[in-house]
């Protein structure tokens, strides 16, 4: 039963030329009468190309063989030509007439490959020839040749953009094609050459929707993306205003005037355009595709154009994609992260699917944390916090740190658990691992800043930590906290300053700056105890090696120590140093990504990549839907054709049904034991 695998051929190593390979020898072989020698030579040459070696000197000898009758040789010559034609334009022209002949070959495959190679030769002189070839091929009887014509359109366009108008004509013609083979490729060409000519799609819209299931998978992706854009320009929004409640009350897509428009509209009930419905209905089965890209494409289509009540069905499919390769997971998780900010409900039932596994790579872990944070609410937060506790113990330090930040974000988002989180974080302060402690300090600092009242105990606890903790950011955070709250811990603060004055010279720059700040704040509030200490620190700072610290010292001294030179500012020193500082906002990095079409590279990068096509907002009034009507005659033709295929298919089923009695007994299998 091992028949399915091809025998692995003899290694081709012996074909790969050695360093002093004689191109002379190869030339002779190419000129020999025997096909086998030619083929051998061509293989060696393609081997050289593949390895990145220069084989251009053989061009004249190779080009002669373009007319070879042997399809195998021909194929390799084509490969060679595509690689070197641009460098040897004059010589490449020699081969053109052969291609022109091949374009008329009775064999569709030869016609197609001739077109493919001809269009890949990037020689500007042959543009008119290419144009002609494309035009002819687009009317070819074989759908395969027409498919290649669609590909050639993009190639010609990139070679000479001035041909645009002519190419659009060809695209228009090919869009009308009813073959599933052509559909994907021509839409691809459309997206590259004239994505703004949405009017070309109208007449073909319904056909594309209906063909979609049968198009090959890569084509499906392209068509779905294009149709998403199309739908956003042609149909009115299916999103009712009350749907928006879940969208964290700010609807990105709806600007003010649109809202007004909507209230007007409310008087007449919204009815979805049947074409809009058609698209949504016809893409649904594709959620079951095995190709992750197709599933992702359908998911983004639902997200962008379906009524909010129907978006839910994509979550299951997306969660399923989490079982695939990690790169795919990465993209899918990013998209889920964006979606989950706007609509928590969609993914809440799958909360556990986003639990981190110890074998996940860090990037995946962090994205999962992001999603868990977005999904956290009053009901599930206690479960989540327990889960986070395990994560904090992870060996992956970066991940543990990210978890602590996540706890911080949950604490600010859900006020019920702020205190629990805070005490949890304080517990972490006695963790053995320094990175965990440092991260906790930073997060606690942010949390305390948000609700400064009665946390004296925590601050005292943190002040004690200064003796043991060495991570600069954490030390700096503690010092800042003490400085900010120096009036709440009047006994400890001066003592901390004393200790810091002792170790000042050994501290990191970041910490030194905070020591200066602390000194200044204490000087202003409690100058009796700290005047001398502060002046000592300021003197140390004055001669520090780092100019930032010297600058800061000078600045602080002028502000807080009044002398005749100091200006009016020092009067306000206290206000300046002890002003009420706004609390930092702990937000999701995915917050504003939703203005990119999901699933695109731009969304992943969070910047606009070249060639990004904006999704337009829904139009306020639907453009004329009748533009999509197709002439009746054509429709009838289509119908008869369709019913014919149905008929033949039924017959097939009938024949098949006679094969055996079991085939219709689906699911009812008494002889199966479990």
């Amino acid at each position: 039963r091992g028949r399915s695998r091809l025998p692995v051929g003899s290694p081709m190593q012996d074909l790969i030329p050695g360093p002093q390979d004689h191109s002379l020898n190869l030339k002779q072989m190419l000129e020999s009468n025997k096909d086998s020698a030619k083929l051998d030579a061509m293989k060696r040459i393609v081997g050289m190309i593949a390895k990145g070696k220069n084989a251009s000197e053989l061009f004249p000898a190779v080009v002669k063989n373009v007319a070879s009758k042997n399809i195998e040789i021909k194929k390799l010559v084509y490969v060679y030509l595509v690689r070197y034609a641009e460098e040897q334009q004059d010589l490449a022209l020699l081969s053109i007439s052969t291609f022109q002949r091949a374009l008329k070959d009775p064999n569709q495959l030869i016609r197609a490959s001739a077109l493919r190679v001809l269009s890949s030769i990037r020689v500007p002189i042959i543009v008119p020839i290419m144009m002609l070839a494309i035009k002819e091929a687009s009317a070819d009887l074989s759908p395969y040749v027409r498919k290649n014509a669609a590909h050639a359109i993009q190639k010609l366009y990139s070679l000479d953009p001035e041909q645009k108008e002519m190419l659009i004509e060809v695209i228009e013609k090919l869009l009308k094609d009813k073959s599933t083979l052509v559909a994907g490729s021509v839409v691809m060409a459309f997206e590259e050459v004239c994505p703004d000519r949405i009017d070309l799609i109208h007449k073909n819209y319904r056909k594309l929707c209906n063909l979609l299931v049968d198009v090959e998978e890569w084509g499906q992706v392209v068509i779905i993306h294009m149709l998403t854009r199309y739908a956003r320009t042609q149909f009115v929004s299916p999103w009712k205003e009350d749907d928006g409640l879940e969208d964290n009350e700010k609807n990105f897509y709806e600007s003010d005037d649109e809202q007004k428009e909507k209230t007007d509209q409310k008087k007449k009930p919204y009815a979805m355009d049947p074409d809009h419905r058609l698209l949504i209905r016809n893409t649904k089965p594709l959620l079951q595709s095995r190709n992750a890209a197709v599933v992702m494409a359908v998911a983004q289509l639902y997200w962008h154009i379906s009524p909010k009540s129907e978006v839910g069905i994509i979550s299951k499919s997306l969660v399923r994609l989490l079982r695939s390769n990690r790169e795919v997971q990465y993209i899918v998780l990013q998209n889920i992260a964006t979606m989950s900010i706007q609509r928590k409900g969609m993914f809440e039932p799958y909360l556990k699917s986003f639990y981190v596994r110890s074998t996940d790579p860090t990037m995946i872990k962090i994205l999962k944390l992001e999603i868990l944070t977005n999904l956290a609410n009053e009901a599930n937060i206690s479960t989540l916090l327990r889960e986070f506790q395990t994560y904090v113990k992870s060996q992956d330090k970066q991940f543990a740190a990210a978890t602590i930040q996540t706890i911080g974000r949950c604490a600010t988002n859900i006020s019920e658990v702020t205190d629990t989180c805070l005490s949890g974080l304080v517990c972490l302060l006695s963790n053995r691992d320094e990175i965990v402690v440092a991260e906790s300090v930073v997060v606690i600092k942010k949390l305390l800043q948000m609700q400064p009242a009665q946390h004296g105990e925590i601050i005292k606890h943190m002040a004690k930590l200064l003796d043991s903790i060495t991570v600069p950011v954490a030390r700096a955070s503690i010092l800042w906290l003490i400085g900010e709250n120096c009036e709440r811990v009047p006994k400890i603060a001066p003592d901390v300053l004393r200790k810091m004055a002792k170790s000042f010279t050994n501290e990191d720059d970041l910490v030194k700056l905070q020591i200066l700040n602390l000194g200044a704040k204490l000087y202003l509030t409690n100058s009796k105890q700290t005047k001398l200490l502060t002046q000592y620190i300021l003197n140390l700072g004055k001669y520090d090696q780092n100019y930032d610290i010297r600058d800061r010292t000078r600045f602080i001294r002028q502000l807080i120590v009044p002398n005749e030179k100091s200006g009016a500012l020092s009067k306000y020193a206290k206000k300046i140093f002890l002003a009420q500082k706004p609390a930092p906002l702990l937000e999701s990095p995915f917050k504003d990504r939703d203005h990119f079409q999901l699933g695109t590279l731009s969304h992943t990068l969070n910047t606009k990549a070249i060639g990004y096509l904006e999704l337009s907002n829904w139009p306020e009034v639907a453009p004329d839907p009748s533009v999509r009507n197709v002439e009746v005659i054509e429709l009838i033709n289509q119908c008869t054709k369709y019913s014919n295929t149905l008929l033949s298919r039924n017959q097939k089923c009938l024949q098949w049904g006679r094969l055996g009695p079991h085939c219709s007994v689906v699911g009812h299998l008494p002889w199966l034991r479990s």
């Binding site: 399915s4 009758k69 399809i71 392209v222 594709l286 079951q288 795919v328 070249i610 699911g667 009812h668």
Partner: protein, 425 residues
């Protein structure tokens, strides 16, 4: 829309082979890839998408190779990754293993394949069955049939060629199920699900249309059979091979298709049901730093007494710097596999209700390495004939074959267990 060039790099980042599809990104850009990768790796911010200036690298790693697609434009990221994985799949079917050596040995074919897989940055024929029709290992073979043209690319049914003939028409079905369990430290199951695939091996003549019958609950409900005593399963999400008529499945849950020839994966499904682990593993790992590590593993069969699990393989991870292994097992044999850092304890047959024990002892070097290793899960692999965890039952047309099952079990922290089984009917 998609990639402008595809590179295959060796582990040091040197291009082994490349194919430039669009010519809008200089081929030298790839030189920036490896330094960028190293830099990001050091920062701990490794992502499958790297950017250098305007050029974006989308990459995957397969054994010791990097497959990199470059693009300037707003490509569809998931499409590119799907394509790269598809490429790996195609190459693997051609050369059994995709690795540096197989690329070096087959430059010409790889180049031809790259040429065929993608045209101007857009994926083309990616079905290896079709590709094998016109790009073969031994080019000379084709000389005889020079006028013959592979018809499949131009067919509506692009995955099967016409005119196949077999003396004996056969279909083999394998159901392979793996169970993923998430268990917390005190042994309660947090999440359990079954991920299954149905693989077919088809040797049929002509263009047969097949129908697959499943004891799918939704289908039973549709046909009014739900009340009967048949056991049914609820498939949660299903994905199908391209050949399955999705629209029909959507309408009446029939899985009908014209199969490709030979091996292929027809569908995969997922069920989240409560699964009782069939083999329960408990382990005690004691690590005495700088001297030794002692491992005790207990396996208990939690299935019916009359059933027997065959070919049980329990792989227990050990520290990568362990040496001088010593084992003691109550049944079966244990083997140290240093390249994977695991001990594999294999038991030929494991009757239900029994409990077995293995002890292992390893020496550790006195100098310890800096980083702390995580604790990877213990894996269990076995098959129980005529048994599927999910209870799924399959029939194809008039030919019926049944296949079986698997399960596994873990011990603390998140774990993934894989078991597989295959039973030709």
């Amino acid at each position: 829309m998609s990639a402008s060039a595809v590179f295959i790099l060796d582990v040091k980042g040197k291009p082994l082979i490349s194919r430039n599809y669009k010519g809008d990104v200089a081929m030298s850009e790839i030189e920036h890839f490896m330094p960028l990768l190293m830099q990001r790796e050091e920062e701990g911010a490794l992502a499958p998408l790297l950017s250098h200036g305007r050029v974006h690298f989308l990459w995957i790693k397969h054994s010791n190779l990097y497959l990199v697609a470059t693009t300037l434009k707003n490509a569809n990221a998931s499409l590119v990754y799907s394509f790269l994985y598809k490429t790996v799949e195609v190459f693997s079917e051609y050369f059994k293993e995709l690795e540096e050596e197989s690329i070096r040995d087959n430059f010409v074919i790889v180049y031809e394949l790259l040429d065929e897989l993608m045209d101007f940055g857009f994926p083309q024929t990616t079905d290896s069955k079709i590709l094998q029709e016109y790009i073969t290992q031994q080019g000379n073979k084709l000389v005889t049939g020079k006028s013959r043209v592979p018809p499949t690319v131009t067919n509506a049914v692009s995955w099967r060629s016409e005119g196949l003939k077999y003396k004996k028409n056969e279909v083999f079905i394998d159901v392979i199920e793996s169970v993923n369990l998430l268990v917390n430290a005190n042994g309660s199951v947090l999440l359990s699900e079954i991920v299954g695939t149905i693989k077919l091996k088809v040797f049929l003549s002509g263009m047969p249309e097949l129908r697959l019958g499943l004891n799918d609950r939704v289908l039973f409900e549709l046909t009014g059979l739900s009340g009967s005593k048949n056991k049914s399963v609820e498939l949660e999400d299903v994905k199908f091979h391209q050949c399955v008529r999705l629209s029909r499945f959507d309408n009446d849950r029939t899985i009908s298709f014209i199969p490709p020839d030979g091996d292929f994966e027809l569908m995969s499904y997922r069920l989240s049901t409560q699964v009782k682990p069939l083999i329960w593993i408990e382990s005690v790992i004691e690590k005495f730093s700088h001297s030794r590590v002692e491992i005790m593993v207990k396996a208990k069969g939690q299935f019916k007494k009359q059933s027997v699990a065959n070919g049980v393989e329990i792989s227990v991870p050990v520290p990568s710097d362990a040496d001088s292994p010593r084992f003691k097992t109550s049944v079966g044999s244990a083997k140290y596999v240093p390249e994977k850092n695991v001990v594999i304890w294999s038991i030929k047959s494991f009757p239900g209700g029994k409990e077995y024990l293995m002890r292992a002892h390893f020496g550790l070097p006195s100098v310890e390495k800096e980083e702390v290793e995580g604790r990877p899960p213990i894996g269990v692999k076995f098959e129980i004939p005529y048994f599927t965890v999910s209870g799924i039952q399959v029939s194809v047309a008039s030919r019926c074959l049944l296949s079986l099952a698997s399960v596994a079990f873990p011990f603390s922290c998140p774990l993934a267990w894989v078991t597989s089984a295959s039973w030709p009917g």
